[in-house]
């Protein structure tokens, strides 16, 4: 069955976690870095997404730490999460290949 494309913030969160476990603030800064500063996740959007991804078993809690009296929870990608991200990458790659091919037919890429 073909899956629905991931929304960009979701794709970027999964991509951030593909590098290893990260806490909330780490994910936010990593997403900003991956997107070249274009996508700036904030706490509300991030935790709504993390809550959904956790309930869909694409992401899970790795461990919790207390840093400067504050709770820091680390998240990691689950095997189904990695598969979902891989499928999305493949989908984007396939679309990009077709797009590039057709642009070549038009007279080559700029």
């Amino acid at each position: 069955m073909s899956q629905r494309p991931l929304q960009e913030p979701t794709f970027l969160i999964l991509t951030a976690l593909a590098a290893g476990t990260q806490h909330g603030y780490g994910i936010m800064t990593d997403v900003a870095s991956i997107s070249g500063g274009r996508v700036k996740l904030r706490a509300g959007t991030l935790y709504a997404a993390l809550d959904r991804l956790t309930s869909e078993n694409l992401v899970e809690v790795d461990r919790e730490e207390i840093v400067d009296t504050r709770l820091r929870r680390y998240y990691r990608l689950t095997p189904p999460g990695a598969q979902r991200l891989a499928a999305e990458v493949e989908r984007i790659r396939a679309h990009s290949a077709v797009a590039a091919q057709r642009l070549d037919l038009l007279g080559g890429l700029a």
Partner: protein, 320 residues
Amino acid sequence: MNAAAVLEGRYRRLLAIYPAEHRRKHQDEMLGVLMTGARAGQHRPGLADTADLIWGALLIRLRPARPGTAWPLWRDALAVVSVLLPLMVLAYSGLLNVATLATLRAGSPIFNALAGYDAKFLGGWAIVAALALLRLRRTAALAATALLLWLVYSIADAPNWSYIDAPSMRSLTVAGLEIAALVAWPGPRRAMQIINWRHYTLALAIPLGLASVSNWVGLADPAVSDSIVITACAVTLAGMTLASPLAQRMAAFLALPAYYLIATFLVPPSMIGGPYEVTSGWQGPLRVMVTCAPFAVLLCVALVVALRSVRHAPVDSREA
């Protein structure tokens, strides 16, 4: 108190808009992230962060509930509404209608017309209330449906559909809500396990208070009584949203009738047709907007919920 403590307190108040379960799981963590991202000396949440937190809370609240979480509370709220709503209607409309009749000359044509309408309206609600209190859920639902059909007939029978105004819409939505509350499982039987004397007292005292203000203060100064009724409705709904998760959900159900109650007093009768301007006919776009806007909003919310349900349904159930 330093700026960080002030900021944290404000963030905590903002996070109160999230469901309790979400707060229990993520509040400390979110506070940590928000405080880490705060500027030195910042003592107020930024506009973008505030908007994002409200948006996040909305996303969480519109998400279909997981089994065994929020739905039982919604069902309980609907069950309580099924028993208390008829009592509220009887208290509010009973007092107002009797007070109106008292100002008319007994036996006059308008007295007879109004008395006939009131007898059917209040009689219908009294039957629904009694059946609900007797825990006869299905019979009460049938009686409420008959009442709704009669209300629709009354509107359709009026010249130029002129009864389509805020008070009529309130009657229709209240009857519709009562049917929904009775049809939805588990209904009055469950409500009786939840309701105590305080619920009954409030369900009677608030509508009686509103009707009294609207009638007796309104005779002296309509503008003052209108302001009091509008404020009392808003404060009651706000109080319910803070009182308990069950009252919060009841407030969500009662918001639509409350909207039409407020609309009755908020918009000048000449523009939408007030309680006594039943033959004024259509009064232009504002009247249509005031009466139809809530349904447009409800339709949008229902669409969003339906789309999200489909989007987040397990793969197996989507394929089925």
